[in-house]
């Protein structure tokens, strides 16, 4: 009786020859995960930015000679608040305006005679905003100089920028996926060449092509899964590290504040399975094509 109760694998272990491929696949998955996380971060950030832009208008009241700018700002805010489509209008004081300027002008305080514009933060109903020019028309009777900054003007630009970042990141994911598939296909052909004796012996005893391809597909599936897990875990750790390091690091790495949300955790989890599937499919196609070429 044979001492081995189970059938041995038909493909022998590769004795370390798969390690470089494992490393390359893990690195590609790591980079693809970071790119996908970047795309998810850009998506989420763009949603936040555009939401803010569509419901905000800023009105500047420039101080007039001999007038109480704070009182003018309050009066303008009162008028604006009654405009259809406006949900809130809040006049900011000189102190609040000075606080906004502090990063540029320092904390030493501004001369009292410096005409600091007063700001009115206007919140509008994004579904039914005031008509364009309505705020300027409303304030045209006031004896003050007014400048209206409708943030909606920036919305399309921000959307375009966010979309560009997103598509760039998705393109990067696609390129890395293609690179991974090409590397696995190359490795599968090399593996088949190294174990041609097995493929030939199997063919001669009546194994169809799909039997041989399934062996290589299975081997590369597990390699892809293990490499994918390694790359995904590294990417998750890197993303967590960037999130912990804060927004500055996030901005550098295309991860705006890394406000990814829990749904982004699906990216590394899916990456391992996708890596395995790509490796298996790529190996299957490469080996099938090679067998057909050699035995046509």
């Amino acid at each position: 009786m044979s001492k081995t109760p189970r059938s041995a694998p038909l493909l022998p272990p590769d004795a370390g020859r798969d390690r470089p491929l494992f490393a390359v696949a893990a690195i590609l998955v790591f980079l693809a995960c970071l790119a996908a996380l970047g795309a998810a971060g850009a998506w989420r950030a763009a949603e936040g930015w555009t939401a803010q832009l569509t419901d905000q208008i800023t009105v500047q009241i420039l101080p007039g000679e001999g007038r109480d700018a704070d009182a003018d700002a309050r009066e303008a805010a009162r008028l604006i608040a009654n405009l259809p489509g406006v949900t809130a209008a809040e006049a900011r004081t000189r102190a609040q305006s000075e606080a906004l300027l502090q990063p540029w002008l320092g904390a030493a305080g501004l001369p009292d005679d410096l005409p600091v514009p007063r700001l009115i933060a206007v919140t509008v109903d994004p579904a039914d905003p005031p008509a364009p020019g309505a705020v300027e028309a409303l304030l045209s009777d006031l004896p003050v100089e007014v400048a209206v900054d409708d943030h909606g003007r920036w919305e399309s630009a921000v959307r375009r920028a966010a979309a560009a970042v997103r598509y760039f990141a998705l393109g990067l994911v696609a390129l890395l996926t293609l690179a991974a598939a090409a590397v696995v296909a190359f490795a599968a052909r090399a593996s088949l060449a190294a174990r041609w004796d097995v493929a030939q012996a199997l063919h001669l005893v009546g194994a169809p092509d799909r039997y041989v391809t399934a062996l290589f597909q299975g081997r590369f599936f597990w390699l892809g899964l293990k490499a994918g897990l390694a790359g995904a875990i590294l990417a998750a750790l890197a993303a967590a590290g960037l999130a912990y390091a804060g927004g500055a690091a996030g901005a550098v790495f295309f991860l705006p504040s890394l406000e990814l949300g829990w749904s982004a955790a699906a990216i590394p989890a899916a990456a391992a399975m996708i890596s395995a599937a790509i490796a298996a499919l790529s190996a299957r196609l490469a080996v099938a094509a090679e067998l057909k070429a050699r035995w046509s």
């Binding site: 009786m1 044979s2 001492k3 081995t4 059938s7 041995a8 022998p12 001669l204 009546g206 046509s296």
Partner: protein, 235 residues
């Protein structure tokens, strides 16, 4: 053994008609071969080295395609066989290679069981048959050994066991007794003869004139890629 379809049951196992073969754009290594191996027959194939014996065998076990002429196996024209049908034909053919072609990472047991494993049979269903056959060819004690640890003769016997384990309809053996002592050679020949009695068509390529004479079987003699006699019995 797989049952042949009704319409092919009486067809010759192998039929060559004006077959020629060349590798790439080289000269023809086989020319105008015409012969038949009737189903259930036993033939020897002889000829000097380089005569084309191995090429002829490669055509029969579908490792190569002819350049011209007609080859039919079990009544089916091989030129018309779709690629997907080749494995089914190959399962009906057992081959003993001169260089054995055992897989070094599999034990003797696993090597011999390979055709059954590929056919989808469970280990439990074939384990006894494999062990019995290995005992019969004198490898009962080497069942868990790996081919690199076997002698040439032991490897040859393992290769023969692998070729016959699935009781093929056609057995092709290239110098099956080349590495064994005369007693084992006789034993192997007896195994082949018994398989033949059970209905397996057998073609043995050999230089061993004594082996050819020991069995009154027709001889295909090939030289320079041409068949110079078909069906003559050894004197």
């Amino acid at each position: 053994m797989a049952d042949a379809p009704e319409h092919t049951r009486q067809a010759p196992a192998v039929a060559f008609d004006a077959v020629g073969m060349r590798y790439g754009r080289g000269p023809e290594v086989l020319s105008d071969l015409t012969f038949q191996l009737p189903s259930g027959s036993f033939h020897f194939l002889t000829g000097p080295s380089g005569a084309g014996k191995s090429s002829l065998l490669r055509l029969i076990y579908l490792a190569e395609r002819q350049s011209r002429g007609l080859i039919s196996l079990f009544g089916r024209d091989t030129a018309l066989l779709p690629r997907a049908a080749l494995p089914e034909i190959r399962r009906r053919i057992g081959v003993v290679f001169q260089d054995f072609r055992l897989l070094d990472h599999l034990t003797v047991f696993e090597n011999v069981a390979l055709p059954l494993r590929v056919a989808g049979q469970s280990r439990a269903s074939y384990a006894d048959d494999v062990e019995e056959l290995l005992s019969w060819v004198g490898l009962g004690e080497r069942i868990d050994a790996f081919p690199p640890t076997l002698s040439g003769g032991e490897q040859q016997r393992a290769a023969i066991a692998r070729a016959v384990i699935s009781k093929p309809e056609l057995l092709i053996a290239d110098e099956p007794t080349g590495n064994v002592d005369p007693a084992m050679a006789r034993r192997i020949l007896r195994l082949l003869a018994e398989l033949n009695k059970l209905g397996t068509t057998i073609l043995v390529a050999t230089h061993d004139i004594a082996l050819v004479r020991s069995l009154e079987a027709p001889v295909l003699e090939i030289a320079g890629g041409k068949l110079i006699s078909a069906g003559r019995r050894a004197a």
